[in-house]
Amino acid sequence: MQITNLYIDRDVLDYPAVDAIRTRLNIPHTVIEGPEKVYEIISASADPVESGKHALLLTKNKGAFIRNCPGTVKYTCCDYTILHIGTFCTMDCSYCILQSYFHPPVLQLFVNHDDMTASLDSVFSQNKKMRIGTGEFTDSMIWETIYPFADKLILKFAKQTHAILELKTKTVNISNILEVSHNRKTILSWSLNTERIIKSEERGTSSLDARLNAAARCQSKGYPLAFHFDPMIIYPGCEKEYQDVIEKLFSHVSSENIVWISLGTFRFMPALKAIVEKRFEHSKIVYGEFIKGMDAKMRYFKPLRISFYQKIISYIRLLAPDVLIYFCMEDTEVWEKTIGFDPSDYGGLPRMLDDSATRHCGLSEDIN
C-alpha cells in the first residue's frame, strides 16, 4: 500500500531516520505538534482503517520500548516480549486484529532509536533468557524498503547471548539482512497460510512461494527460522490445503533449522466482524462456527479446533517429527488432546520455547 501522507512530529524533525525516510518517500510532508493531530485526521475519515494505511507518522515512542505481550490467564501464554518499534501495517489482511486494536489505527514508526537501544541494553544487562519480537503491533519488516534498520537490531542482538530477536513478517524484504553477522541470535519467521487464504484475505502480502524462498535464502545464510500458522482458517477442503503448505514448507527448509512452529486458528474481538464485513466484502472468514471464548474473543468451536489441530499436527509430524510445535493461546485441554501433553509437564510453554531457542541459537543459561 502506498504512503500518500507523511506526518512528522516536530519533536523528531532532526532525527537522522526522519531525513532518510523523507528523502526516500519523496512526498510532501506535514510537520505536526504531536500525534493527536494525525489521530484526529484519521478518525474523521470515512474509512479510518484504509486512511490509516496511507498515512505514515514519524514520531517518538514516548512509552516503553520493551513490553510484555498482552496474553490472558485463560489460555496458555508463551510469555513473549515485544520490542515496540511502531504500529499498524502497510499490508492489509482481512483478519488483522490491528484494525480494531488501535483507535484510530495509525502507521507510526518510532524514530527515537537511541532510546530503543538504551532499552535493549538495559534488558541485556539482566542476563535473562528472553524471546523478543517486533511483529506484534506491526509487521517486523515493512519499513525495510524505506528505512532499513533490521540489520542494526540483528547486530545488536548478535553481541549478547541471552535473548533472541524474532523478526516476524509476511514480506520478503530480506536483502538488507542477508550478509549481517547475526550470530544466530535472530530468528527470521514467516506467517504462513494456504494459497487460497493468502490470495483472498492477505492483500498486499507476498505469495507463499516468495515467503518460503526468502526463508530458504535466510537459512542458507545461517539464520534460524520459525513459522507461524496463524490464523488458520477453517473452510471446506482446508485440511488438504494446509497439508500442501506444510509439504511445501519442508521442501524449502530443513526442519532441523526451525526453532518453532506456532499454530493458532482464527480468533477475534467481536468488534472486528463489522470491520471485515465492511472492508472485505467477499471475505467469509467471520462466518465460521465461532463461539465466545473465555477471553471474550470469538473462537472456532473447541471440538472443531481440536479435530482440525489433530490433523494439522499429524501432517507436520510426518515430515518433521522433532520440530517444536506450540499453540498461541489455547488451553491445556487442546494441548493434551492434540499434541498429547500439557506444557506444564515440561516446565511450561515459555520454558519449552526458551529451551528450543537455546538449542538453535546458542543462548547462555540464565545467570539469575
Binding site: 473462537r299 468451536f301 471440538p303
Partner: protein, 326 residues
C-alpha cells in the same frame, strides 16, 4: 405568506396530487363521525393553481367531506405564487403541530426539505417546523425514505422494527420481500427477527445464495405451510433450521451431547451442566434434595455415573466426521 379563507368547490380539488401528503394513515372513520357531528373544525390548506387546488394539508379531512357528500369546503388558500418549498414547510408545520409524526411521516417530511437544504441546514429547518431531529436520526430517516412501500407498511403495522427495516432496505428486493413476509406471517419478537435476519444473511453469504433462494428451500416452505403446528412452533422450528445451517458442527455436537445425556439417564433433578459453549473444562453437577434419604439416593446415582460407559465420552469433545460449511 398570507392564507386567505375561501369556500372551494370540492370538485376542483385535485385529490390525486399527493406532493405534500405526509400522513400515512388512511383511515377516516373517526373523522367522518366527528365532522358529521360537529362539522369541520380546522380548515384544510390548499394551494391555488390556474384551474385546480392542490392539497397541502388536510387530505383526510377532504376525503371525509367528499365521503359525506359535501360539495364545497371552507379552506385556507395559499397563493399560487407560493414556492414548492413554502408549501412543503406549511405541510410539515401543520402536520407536526397537530400530532407527533411517526418514522415514515418524519422521513417523508425530511425528503421534502432535503431537496432544498443540506444535512446541517435540514436539522435546523426541521426544528423550526416542529420536528426534533439529530444527525443520527437524520441518517436513519434518509434510509427509511428509500425503503419500498411494502416495507414501510410493515413498519407502520408494527410488524418489524425500524432497525430491521433498514437492514431489509440494503437487500435485493426479492430477499427483502421474502423476509418481510416471513416476519409478517410469523410475527416473531423483534429480538428473534434480529436473530433470524443475521442467520439468513450469514447463511446466504456462506452458501453463495440470495436470501430469497434460501427462503424458497423445500424444507423451509414445508414448515411455513404446515397447517398442523402453531405459529410459535413454526418460529422454533425455523430458528432451529437456521441454526443447523449456520452452525452444523455445533448443532450436531449439542444434539449428540443431549443423546449421551439421555442414554446416561440421570434421575430427574440431577443436572450435568457442561462449560459454556463447551469451551472451558469445568462441568458441574447440580442436584436438589429434600431430606437425607433423597440425598443418599441421588448420591448413589452420582456414584453410578462414574461407571457409566457413556459418561467418559462427554469429556472427549470429539466430533463425528464433520463436514463443516466453513
Amino acid at each position: 405568506m398570507l392564507f386567505s379563507p375561501q369556500t372551494i368547490a370540492l370538485s376542483i380539488v385535485d385529490v390525486a396530487d399527493t406532493t405534500y401528503k405526509i400522513s400515512t394513515s388512511e383511515s377516516i372513520e373517526e373523522l367522518l363521525a366527528s365532522i358529521n357531528c360537529i362539522g369541520l373544525l380546522s380548515p384544510p390548506i390548499l394551494k391555488k393553481n390556474p384551474r385546480t387546488y392542490t392539497i397541502i394539508s388536510g387530505f383526510k379531512r377532504i376525503a371525509a367531506c367528499i365521503n359525506l357528500g359535501w360539495t364545497t369546503i371552507e379552506a385556507r388558500v395559499v397563493d399560487y405564487k407560493a414556492s414548492d418549498l413554502q408549501c412543503a414547510r406549511i405541510a410539515i408545520a401543520d402536520n407536526s403541530a397537530n400530532r407527533s409524526l411517526n418514522f415514515i411521516e418524519q422521513s417523508i417530511s425530511l425528503s421534502m426539505l432535503l431537496n432544498y437544504y443540506d444535512d446541517k441546514e435540514v436539522i435546523r429547518e426541521a426544528k423550526g417546523l416542529g420536528l426534533n431531529i439529530n444527525a443520527s436520526l437524520l441518517e436513519k430517516l434518509k434510509k427509511t425514505a428509500q425503503l419500498s412501500s411494502e416495507i414501510k407498511k410493515t413498519i407502520l403495522r408494527g410488524t418489524i422494527s425500524l432497525t430491521i427495516a433498514l437492514e431489509l432496505g440494503k437487500m435485493d428486493k426479492p430477499s427483502a420481500m421474502a423476509l418481510s413476509q416471513l416476519f409478517e406471517s410469523l410475527n416473531p419478537t423483534f429480538n428473534i427477527q434480529k436473530e433470524m435476519l443475521t442467520m439468513v444473511k450469514e447463511i446466504a453469504r456462506i452458501k453463495d445464495l440470495s436470501i430469497s433462494q434460501l427462503l424458497n428451500d423445500k424444507y423451509f416452505l414445508s414448515i411455513m405451510e404446515n397447517g398442523e403446528i402453531s405459529r410459535n412452533q413454526k418460529v422454533q422450528k425455523i430458528r432451529y433450521y437456521f441454526k443447523k445451517m449456520r452452525n452444523p458442527v455445533i448443532t450436531q455436537f449439542e444434539e449428540n451431547f443431549d443423546c449421551l445425556m439421555q442414554r446416561i439417564d440421570l434421575p430427574d433433578e440431577i443436572k450435568l451442566i457442561p462449560p459454556d459453549n463447551f469451551e472451558g473444562t469445568k462441568y458441574s453437577i447440580v442436584f436438589n434434595f429434600q431430606n437425607p434419604k433423597e440425598f443418599e439416593f441421588k448420591k448413589e446415582a452420582l456414584d453410578k455415573l462414574m461407571l457409566h460407559p457413556e459418561f467418559i465420552k462427554i469429556f472427549e469433545k470429539e466430533i463425528a466426521d464433520y463436514k463443516s460449511l466453513h
